[in-house]
Each structure stands twice: as structure tokens, then as C-alpha cells.
Symmetry: C2
Subunit: 219 residues, 2 copies
DNA sequence: ATTAATTTTTAGATTCGCCTAAATTTAAAT
DNA sequence: ATTTAAATTTAGGCGAATCTAAAAATTAAT
């Protein structure tokens, strides 16, 4: 079965939202997709007819098994294209989302699998998010927010919770990026800012706002 | 200005057709685009309103200067993606057209210019067709059909006039590909078949049908 | 010069994805 | 338990891109 760009966008949005809420609501979807609630209702009816999701009026929506498969395929395409743009075309990771949002709808499985091979089967995209494999299997790496990391526990930055140029600018200024080894030296109670030590270097102070969009895995 | 995939497909088709006929007709377009004449008329009105072409009912259509610019941009995208698919993802040149037909509508000039650089600014696509540069300039190489090449004139295969797997299969079997050096040893009047000599090797016989879809440039 | 055939356009509908405004249902507040 | 507010759906409509059937214009043939 083949789906339109609009359908794929809805499926992907539902997939993302249903991790943070048992039922995905019409308004949440309208918000995520920058559209209006009546448009969402229309599409939900259509996707229900195609058995991609379970939808009961007024109750909310959840993806079916088939729906999840479709979602993972779209996520795979999105993240592989993002990886391509960053690792081969020298885009910054703050510039790739919009373009990948279009590229993810190209309908050739062969293309995606060959792209995957060309990139060396990357397991994570430029934002640290896992890339589903050809069969839709996803590796979830255990990670916590940097704000939750115990003092003196060695860890490395594994994902970013925002893709804004502003975050990238700040990370560069602080000498941080995906994969950076660090540990937390001190937390100041006044503003909840953190002193962190990068590798073997001198310590750097970062705000609570910054720390809370950084995810780390212990090592 | 930004154009829909449908609009870009029409513009590109008109661009291709207007080389072989002073006026592009409604039926020719319907044929090329696998659609029906009334759909073409509708679109022509729309594109005329956008000043991309000159269209007078019943008379036919020609691209405006602006229309040509758009056409060249789409052709550039198409051929760069084809080059990418063949040179980086190991597609055969008989497999890339359909996918490129989709990829050419991704709307990021930055993406295309970076792709161009990544590929090393190729001047010709996998079928030997010239790739317009970032400003829409195109290099036309003087070439003739192999059927027109004088006897014993040294030349190399510069383009193919078909993208079918059947042609690729035959070329492989005859040991021919883009860039192959050859000259014509003899033309048999009975079936117009040609004996050609590849580089310094033994001669090979190819049919008139094959020779007429091969373009060569003398060297 | 008529007539016939072909090409092209117009008329009217359809599907998709979206919208606004109004009605309905559900949840919250008094 | 009512009333009020919020969320959601229904009703009706619109633009893009397509279609079929019918009308009109052009071209070719007698
Ligand atoms: Mn998208
Ligand atoms: Mn990402
Ligand atoms: Mn196309
Ligand atoms: Mn080509």
C-alpha cells in the first residue's frame, strides 16, 4: 500500500504523540501539524477506513499495528535523509528538518535501502534519534536528561531535544556536541545551573534550560 | 516563486517538446504527461496566468523566458539526482528515471547546489544529457547519431536516446557504454547494420535500431 | 465549397486536503 | 444538578488537479 504525503505526516505525528499520552487528541494533532481540528477529523476518518488506526469519535486515536509499521517506515526515511544531509552534504543539524520533511515522502524502498547502505547503516540520526532498520526495528538506547544525571557520573551526550539554530550556536560556544564525554561537578541551587567537566578539560557552566534539552547515556 | 510538482512537470514537458516543434500542441502534451487533453488546457490557462508561457487557444504553446528558467531548474534537479543515484547509490541508469521524477520536485536550492558540489559538478547525467549549472547555463556538446557518423571517423559514445533496461542489456552484451571509443568499419546495405571497432579490439556488429539510439561525439 | 475528420476547448463532476461557522458532545465549574 | 467552558464533529465550501461527455474550432478530404 502507498500513502500520500499528507497521510504519512499524520501517521508520523500520531506516532510521536502517542508516546507521551495514552490517547492522541484531535487538538494535539491539529497543533502538531499546523492545521485545524476539522481537517484532523476528516483525515482520521480516512485513516480509520484504511485500518491504520483506531479512532472513536470524541475519544481520541491510536495507531494500529499496520499504522505503526507505516510510521516507522516514514521515521526511517526522515532520519536517513537527515543523516545524508549532514554527513554527506555538510548541512548543519539545525538546517535539515524542513528538507527531510519533504524527502521522507519519496516512494522508493530500494532508494532508502541503498541510501542506508551508502551511509554505512547509521543507527542514529544527527540529533541522536534512533533510525529504524529495513524491517522497522528500532534500537532504544537508555538515556536520561542531563538534569537527571548523578554528580560525577561519567556520560556522553547522546541526543538533543531541540533542533533550533539557537541551541546549536550555544552548544558550539560551550564546546559541546553529540558524543561529548562529560560529568557533572556541581549543581547550583539558585538557578539550577550546572558545572560540567568535558572530558579531561576545565569545567564549564551551563544553564538549566540547556541541560534539560540534552540527553546523555552513562559510560 | 515556487511551483507545484504538476506545474513543474508540465513546464519540463513543454521544454522538451518545443525543441522538436515550433509550437507545442495540447495533444502532444497530454501524450507526454499521460493525461487527457482537457487537463492540459486547464493547466495551460493557469501557467499562462503565471506568465510562464505564451498560450493562445487552438494555436499551441511556447515557454516564456521565465518559463524556460523554471524548466532548466527542474531539468537540473532531475539530472543531478539521476547522477547521484547512479554514481553514489549504484543504481543502473535504466532504473533512475522514475525516482528522479519525484526527487526533482524537492524545493530547496541549497540542497541541489550542495548535491552538485558533492557530485563534483558533473556536466552530464548518466544518459549523457547535459546538466544545467546553478545559473541555468547548459553546455551543448556537438554530437550526432551513430548512424550519421562517417566511416573510420573516431568517436566516443556520448549519450543514449532511450533509458530502457532492454537497451542497457544489449549495450552490455556488445561491450558498449557511455564513453566507449569506437569507429565504424562497414555499413551493410541490406539491413543497415554496422560493423564497429571498439577501441583497438575486434569489430562488433550492431543493428540499425541500436545505432540510431546512440549518440557520439567525434574525437 | 461542402463535408468529414481531427484537434481543442468548454461544461460539469470527482477526489484530496484544507478551511470557517455552526452544532454537538464531553469536561469543568459553580 | 445546572450552567459554563472546552473539545470535537458536522455542514458547507474552496482550490488544485484530474476525468468524461459534449460543443466548438481547425484542418483535411472529397
Ligand atoms: Mn513530511
Ligand atoms: Mn532528527
Ligand atoms: Mn516529476
Ligand atoms: Mn537523464
Amino acid at each position: 500500500m502507498q500513502y500520500s504525503a499528507a497521510e504519512e505526516n499524520y501517521i508520523k505525528a500520531i506516532y510521536r504523540l502517542q508516546d507521551h499520552a495514552a490517547m492522541v487528541t484531535t487538538n494535539a494533532l491539529a497543533d502538531a501539524l499546523q492545521t485545524k481540528p476539522p481537517s484532523v477529523t476528516d483525515m482520521l476518518k480516512k485513516l480509520k477506513a484504511k485500518k491504520l488506526l483506531n479512532y472513536e469519535p470524541y475519544k481520541g486515536v491510536k495507531l494500529s499495528a499496520e499504522g505503526k509499521k507505516v510510521a516507522l517506515a516514514v521515521v526511517r526515511k526522515h532520519r536517513l535523509w537527515e543523516s545524508f544531509l549532514v554527513s554527506k552534504l555538510q548541512f548543519g543539524w539545525d538546517e535539515v528538518h524542513e528538507v527531510a520533511e519533504e524527502l521522507e515522502h519519496i516512494t522508493s524502498k530500494k532508494l532508502i535501502d541503498k541510501l542506508d547502505a551508502f551511509l554505512g547503516f547509521p543507527r542514529f540520526d544527527p540529533h541522536g534519534d534512533p533510525i529504524p532498520d529495513s524491517q522497522g526495528r528500532i534500537t532504544i538506547q537508555p538515556q536520561v536528561r542531563l538534569t537527571e544525571l548523578p554528580l560525577h557520573q561519567s556520560a556522553e551526550i547522546s541526543a538533543v531535544g531541540s533542533q533550533s539554530p539557537a541551541l546549536l550556536e550555544l552548544l558550539k560556544a560551550k564546546g559541546l556536541q553529540l558524543g561529548t564525554r562529560l560529568d557533572v561537578r556541581k549543581i547550583f541551587s539558585f538557578d539550577r545551573s550546572l558545572d560540567i567537566r568535558i572530558k579531561q578539560q576545565a569545567s564549564v557552566n551551563i544553564s538549566f534550560e540547556l541541560a534539560s534539552v540534552l540527553f546523555v547515556k552513562t559510560c
